[in-house]
Subunit: 369 residues, 2 copies
């Protein structure tokens, strides 16, 4: 059952476990219990009308004398593709823009300051097909393509920072395609972009009015050093827009972004798509199985993880959803001062050892009898 | 309830969830389901007689044409201190030797090739008291102290590699104390030692007849780079003998060692103590709370995690236990060839960036409007 039949881990546990046990299970699996946010009724009504899930949680920090709470509300969006993958490109993009606009309006009612959409959100996740057309037609300029202009309007209208992961066409540099996230300030200005390449690049660390954010796209979440570099460069919230399927990664999903939040004393936001996307042409997957027309089931389950090892429940495995989390960024420093991983990490030695290890004549240190 | 009242996550889930849901919960939380090992009846009988838990699981890999399965059986031991912390030092050590000898004999019946005990296993975990005597009297020479000699006998008798984490007194270098793990070959020879300092040192990577092992002591598990360096130096199994309590870390416990197994394509073995250890003198913990006489509740829950994101259930939160896991080390390379984190990690760039980041004049890369 890696498909849609099973709604969510949390729903299952809440349905079957007696309260005292449920509390223990949640303590061990999810850390400190989070307060549910009191989101406006109109937001729930709109979410219900538009048929998507809405959840909200607060991560709180201890009161301090010299710093006020540094509250920021983040929004994570997961969604199915509203039109089939063989609909005309322009219609698919428009339908996605409409869908996201409706969800962002609810996020605005909930006071969201920074919102992040799923990886390559303007298209089906068609990389599995290894076909070029029509998928490359979904690529746009990160600086002034229609989706970036659309997001700039959203950002300005709602005073909201928008993280928009798209397929980028860089026509100024040989028409190269990139898997890119564009960061748009709440003023509407394009603040920067980051490309999926597992290392920090220009634009990865963006300081907004609401805090310092970074975007670690999809596969980058498997690399602890990638998260570390964002954190060393000051990121307090790292978004991880992803597209990943049940059979491949569902048991990695609750581990990696959460470990990154713990190891780096920061918040991480893991976002996945929902549903099965059917492609017009069959393709194979190098796994010895017969040709098929879908990549697999995208299991949603988007969540926010905190530096103190607490996390929100995941959004559903099967429905579009908006997860709103109220973060007090003071928690990052507070946890830093308790666990001190940055102080105790022997980074200078690691830098030296890593530099040695990548040399072609490096031989591992192994003690034998 | 961070204490002994709640037996284990697994017991709770198995008691309350209907089978199809239980399977889904386990798939999401634990990955691929593991086969239970068919351990000898005499082993279960001995474990029952000696009043400790015995569990066994197999991690299997796909069959290959050119390599045979590289099977190794590891044993993880968690235990309470058998005598109160105010008993005479020599009696406490003897009682622990006796206890461990009984457990190792059961491990031998189960065909264990490599066994690892908990952190500072020959003593109460007395660092919380900040007192010197009598705790420093538990320190021994790593090379030829009574505990190392005891373990050498065990190793030889049972043809078993022994990982023995002790408090070390290095009398050849200024009588310095170290939190050290000694690795003893199945021949009985001391193969090396590793000291808790969050970075690899001489003796960390030990090649035994059964595979290449490393020991990452306790707090080192919070540092992803520490695990990485062991792995880059060839470790296929990394033991993490620990002593950690419920209120502090129980929600980090299922995450960190498991993330390390995933990120580094290796096996990790997380081992924790069990029970509450009461000290003769009260002490404070810098948390604003009144003086007390114990560090907190050690919640056991030892487990083995595999590179494919599967893991064993944890041993109990409240009982002494031996966890036997049959590993096929071929799984490491097989998962490596699927996920390719070593191939895709930009280590050269990280080495360069880290070397920059530790400079005193480094300033983070932050993009502002």
């Amino acid at each position: 059952m890696a498909g849609a039949e099973w709604k969510s881990l949390e729903e299952c546990l809440e349905k079957h476990l007696p309260l005292p046990d449920l509390q223990e299970v949640k303590r061990v699996l999810y850390g400190k219990e989070l307060r549910k946010l009191d989101l406006p009724r109109e937001a729930f009504e709109a979410a219900s009308r538009e048929d998507f899930e809405l959840q909200g949680y607060a991560f709180e920090a201890a009161e301090e004398q010299l710093r006020r709470p540094r509250i920021v509300h983040v929004g994570l969006v997961q969604n199915r593709i509203p039109l089939p993958a063989n609909a005309p490109v322009a219609e698919q993009v428009s339908a996605l823009h409409r869908r996201i606009k409706a969800i962002v309006e609810v996020a605005a009612m909930c006071g969201v300051n920074i919102i992040c959409f799923q990886e390559a959100w303007t298209m089906p996740f068609a990389f599995c097909t290894r076909e070029k057309l029509p998928w490359t037609e979904f690529a746009e300029s990160a600086e002034d393509g229609p989706t970036t202009r659309f997001c700039q309007k959203l950002a300005k209208n709602h005073d909201m920072v928008v993280v928009s992961p798209i397929l980028e066409r860089d026509s100024e540099h040989g028409d190269v395609l990139w898997n890119t996230a564009v960061v748009i300030s709440n003023s509407g200005a394009v603040l920067g972009k980051t490309r999926k390449n597992h290392i920090p690049r220009v634009g990865d660390f963006n300081e907004t009015q609401f805090g310092r954010i970074a975007v670690n796209i999809c596969y980058g979440r498997h690399h602890p050093l990638n998260w570390l570099m964002y954190s060393i460069n000051g990121a307090e919230i790292i978004f991880n827009p992803s597209a990943t399927i049940g059979a491949l990664s569902e048991s990695l999903w609750p581990i990696e972004a959460r470990n990154a939040a713990i190891a780096n004393h920061c918040f991480t936001c893991a976002i996945n798509r929902v549903g099965t996307e059917h492609f017009p042409n069959e393709f194979t997957s190098g796994d010895g199985k017969k040709a098929h027309q879908d990549f697999g089931y995208f299991y949603g389950s988007s969540y926010v993880a905190a530096p103190d090892s607490s996390r929100t429940p995941g959004l559903s495995r099967s429905r579009d959803g908006l997860l709103v989390a109220k973060l007090d960024l003071n928690l990052c420093q507070q946890v830093n001062d308790v666990w001190n991983f940055k102080m105790t990490g022997r980074y200078e030695m690691y830098a030296r050892e890593l530099a040695e290890a990548v040399k072609s004549n490096y031989s591992p240190t192994i003690v034998k009898e």
